[in-house]
């Protein structure tokens, strides 16, 4: 490599700054006093910082409506829905289906293709039928309705991911268990499932993040927050933005930072699974 390392390091700094700066800017905006937010030239290193944006929207002109800490009911909905959808798709559908596809079935290719294809279906294409189904089941604005629809993308994803992990378990392990007289159900439950724990963790964390961040289905299937409703955090934030953009920048930035923390922490913790999950197993990293 001919590029001298000084230039290389400089380029890396520029790249890191490119990815970090919007986050930094949002963070300091959430901590700024209003006069530092609405000023030009912008304040890049605020001297006075405050946490009040997290409790009051800090709006000067706009219709003061919501706050970062006010998002807690929406966070409860997001956590419950994402948690239920994730557990159901991983344990009830994903792991057993993946085990069946990789171990038990003779003609798994077409079913495998089907699972892969279902992970690629866009939400918007299924919006109308899922809306009609949820209405028909009288589950509009409920945890169960939203969770059910979230299974449409978490279950194929979990299945596909777990197929890769089951495939990595050496067959000899299961064969010896079978010689020891375990039934195939016992082998699945007592041996194989234990050996793919990293896969289960990866499926759970990544499904949870994608449910927590999902906007489109939540937008049409829910209309009020906990208690009584099931509206999730992305709907809260987008509604907050529509009302307060240009006015309560401080309150909005605070809400963004506050609600982003759970998935950001999970994402950093699950970094080594992120590659495998997001690439549908193409990268084993």
């Amino acid at each position: 490599m001919k590029i001298s390392s000084a230039i290389k390091v400089a380029l890396l700094v520029v790249i890191s700054a490119f990815y970090l700066f919007p986050l930094y800017w949002t963070l300091i905006t959430s901590l700024k006093i209003p006069t530092d937010i609405f000023t030009s030239p912008p304040v890049f290193l605020p001297i006075k910082i405050t946490l009040s944006n997290f409790f009051t929207p800090g709006s000067i002109i706009g219709a003061v409506s919501q706050t970062a800490v006010g998002s807690i009911p929406w966070m409860i909905d997001s956590s419950v829905v994402a948690g239920l959808a994730t557990l159901a798709s991983t344990f009830l559908i994903g792991a057993p289906s993946a085990y069946a596809l990789t171990r038990l079935m003779k003609r798994g290719l077409w079913l495998g293709r089907l699972v892969l294809f279902m992970t690629l279906i866009p939400e918007a294409a299924m919006l109308v039928p899922f809306y009609l189904i949820v209405i028909g089941l009288h589950l509009l604005n409920t945890w169960w309705g939203l969770m059910l629809v979230y299974l449409s993308f978490t279950a194929p994803f979990a299945t596909w991911l777990m197929m890769g992990f089951f495939n990595d378990v050496p067959k000899a392990v299961e064969e010896s268990a079978s010689i020891d007289g375990l039934s195939s159900y016992q082998i699945f439950y007592k041996i194989s499932l234990r050996l793919v724990t990293p896969g289960l963790v990866a499926a759970i964390i990544l499904s949870f993040i994608s449910c927590w961040n999902e906007l489109l289905y939540a937008l049409v299937l829910t209309y009020s927050p906990f208690p009584g409703g099931a509206q999730t955090v992305p709907v809260f934030i987008s509604g907050f933005i529509i009302i307060e953009k240009g006015f309560a920048w401080g309150g909005l930035a605070a809400a963004g930072i506050f609600t982003m923390l759970p998935t950001l922490v999970l994402g950093v913790l699950a970094q080594k699974y992120m590659a495998r999950g997001l690439t549908l197993g193409a990268v084993k990293g």
């Binding site: 919007p22 038990l104 866009p122 489109l216 240009g246 590659a275 690439t279």
Partner: protein
Amino acid sequence: MLPLLVYFLIFFLYPVVQLFTSAFTSGSGSFTLNNFHRMFTDPAMAQILPTTFYYFIGSLGLEFLVGLGVALLVYSYTGRLRGVVRTLILLPLAMSPVVVALMWMLMFDLNYGPINYFLGLLGVPAQNWLGNTSLSLPSLIITNAWEFSPFIFLVVYAGLQMIPVELHEAANVDGLGRFQTFRYVTLPSIRASIVVALTLDAIGVLKGFDLVYVLTNGGPGYSTSVLSFYIYEVGFSFLQAHYAAALSLLYLAIIIAFVAAVIKFTSLEDYLGLKKMVEK
């Protein structure tokens, strides 16, 4: 086996049948082709299809160039901070697109945003990034690239790390220059990674809704209305479920055609390990 088929029935076949029923009926429930006829005469569609196309090509192209460039750079850097830089670049992938849209609204702000400030230092007058019909789509593409170029980076970087060191040493011994090494050694070695990265990113871009909804709400005018956004708008703002169903079928057909073409012309299924996984 049976649970998977039941699942498929409930979550795919039944909704798709319902899409067909809605798309081929009118409000009164009688058979009609009007919803498809309207697709071709709808003046909005004359803007939405090109916008979707430019958004697709622009986002995919920018994400690929940035992601590939960053991956090659981080790969060629062997210092201590490599892991930190990698983590940093991956952060956007764990963020909610809604919050990413908010972050970039702050960045693009006409009066107080840092982008207009930095451009001002270079003598460029302040631009109304999100409110100007000729800048709104590029702004959307930039935001999209910020959030999803790390995906390309992730895949390509992982591919680079799997290249055996001996391969580069051999190229060195054979006296290949930097460009030749890249062209004949590095590039063929990461072919699989590139196909996977491009395909999955393309699907991700086509799926995109959240950034459009929050950042520009499809506007100004229809300048950032992509197909996914228009389906939502027709179905849930204009409350025309039957027309939205017809549009959904078009959308689904585009995705299926794209995936089928990729599977036919590349070894995507092998790269994802499909056959290996289902073979006994």
